[in-house]
């Protein structure tokens, strides 16, 4: 009986909708997830951004292979779709520095599910990327 109850509890927990955290401060701040590269073999992306009132700082794919965000530049000319250019520096398998550039659009600015998508360039590779704010 206890086992059945445990299974029911786990199923109920999994069935609960994911909570959505409102965030109406700087729209880039927070954690974003998605992928870049070819659809048949995409690369996972996890972006963490902070805003201190002066600059955006952040980390791409936190962990052993993390890349540090060097700069983020915005283009506000379209109020509904901000242009964003992110430059960062990571490391390749040999530990050599690899330049990363992500250039795209930040959309759905006011909604919970903000989107950032565009072109990702990392080392000699280039492809589309899309991330959604968690």
């Amino acid at each position: 009986m206890r086992r059945v109850m445990s299974v029911v509890a786990i199923v109920c927990a999994l069935a609960m909708p994911a909570s959505i955290q409102a965030q109406f401060g700087h729209p880039l701040k927070g954690q974003w997830s998605g992928e870049w590269g070819p659809k048949e073999k995409p690369n996972r992306l996890l972006l963490n951004f902070e805003w201190d009132g002066k600059e955006i700082t952040g980390v791409i794919n936190p962990g052993a292979n993390a890349a540090t965000v060097k700069s983020v530049v915005f283009d506000y000319s379209n109020p509904s779709s901000w242009g964003v250019k992110i430059t960062a520096e990571g490391k390749d398998a040999a530990g050599k520095p690899v330049a990363i550039t992500a250039e795209g659009k930040l959309e759905n600015l006011g909604a919970y599910m903000k989107h950032l998508h565009g072109t990702w360039t990392q080392g000699g590779q280039k492809g589309e990327f899309a991330v959604t704010r968690n």
Binding site: P27, G53, S80, N108, G110, A111, M113, H117, V131
Partner: protein
């Protein structure tokens, strides 16, 4: 638009409480009493006091009464200078609007006249906060979190048009503010001389520590989260915001409110807003539950036509690809 409907609803609620149309209250009211919102019928009665001589910000024992919090949709039109008076450029903007017959130019109106950040040059914008405000203006406050029945943060508590009571509890060294609207919330203000905790858990209403300065109640607030807007028009704020509020009761019928906002995450320098809150001597706090039957949320869609509270869209989803087929 849905958020506009919420705004109209709030306005109707306020009008039901006061018998005065919001539009008549919104424009041109001075920052300090005498005219407009703060005006009372009959002569002003003396400021009530507690047994210890401090100002009583609530009811006199044995009487009824609540504060009729006004409906202030755009706090940029309530910015005051160091003298506590409305900025001259705001007065000029309002005069120009009245002369033009619009009554709502310069972003100061209730639902229209949304001129965005350029219409409020006195606001100490950062590029992102100006751009975000422009976005909210274009969307007519579609994403206003108060429309989701989330609590208003900071000074917006004192600009959401429902009744409110202030309970001073000297024995406990605290003050409690009870709000009918704004999701039926309360505020607790510590009057025991404590310091701010070092690691505040960010909340909608922040952490409040108060003191008396003569006849004024001064409250410092920190620890806000980023889940709210500064006002209905969509001025953003960050969790770096701190607010110093100052309440005075110049007479029994009037509460004067002033808030100085410092938010180095969204604005380049502090600014102050102020308005009067009238006393409703016949009222008692009613019950109002914003969350009940909030159909607005079921209809709300994001910029891509996706339901805000439905299935999550996939990254890079194309505009109009609504799983509900509503577009």
């Amino acid at each position: 638009m849905g958020a506009a409907a919420v705004g109209v609803f709030l306005g109707a609620a306020w009008m039901a409480q006061t018998g005065q149309p919001v539009a008549a209250q919104e424009g041109g009211a001075p920052a300090q009493g005498g005219r407009g919102r703060g005006r009372q019928a009959g002569p002003a009665e003396p400021t009530p006091r507690l047994a210890d001589g401090s100002v009583n910000f609530g009811r006199v024992p044995g009487e009824k009464g609540t504060w009729n919090v006004p409906y202030i949709t755009n706090m940029a039109m309530r910015v005051v200078g160091t003298d506590g008076q409305l900025l001259p450029e705001i007065q000029q903007s309002q005069q120009a609007a009245r002369a033009g017959g619009a009554g709502r130019a310069g972003g100061g109106g209730r639902g229209g006249g949304r001129g965005g950040s350029k219409s409020e040059p006195w606001m100490p914008w950062m590029p992102w906060s100006a751009a975000m405000y422009d976005y909210n203006s274009i969307n007519e406050s579609k994403y206003d979190p108060e429309g989701y029945c989330l609590p208003p943060g900071g000074p917006r508590m004192m600009a959401t048009p429902y009744q409110m009571e202030i309970l001073q509890i000297p024995d406990h060294k605290r003050i409690v503010m009870i709000f009918e609207g704004a999701t039926h919330v309360w505020r607790e203000i510590y009057m025991d001389g404590r310091k701010f905790p070092e690691d505040l858990n960010p909340t909608y209403l922040g952490y409040s520590i108060g003191r008396y300065e003569g006849d004024a109640l001064v409250v410092e607030n920190k620890g806000f989260n980023e889940n709210s807007w500064f006002d209905y028009f969509g001025h953003p704020h960050t969790d770096q915001m701190s607010v110093v509020e100052r309440w005075t009761r110049p007479n029994k019928q009037t509460l004067h409110y002033q808030a100085t906002v410092t938010d180095p995450g969204a604005y380049t320098r502090p600014f102050s807003v102020a308005w009067d809150i009238p006393w409703n001597a016949a009222a008692e706090l009613p019950e109002y539950i914003c969350q009940e039957n909030n159909r607005y949320l079921n209809r709300l869609e994001d910029d891509f036509g996706q339901p805000i509270f439905g299935p999550r869209p996939q990254p890079g989803a194309k505009p109009g690809a609504s799983p509900r087929g509503t577009k």
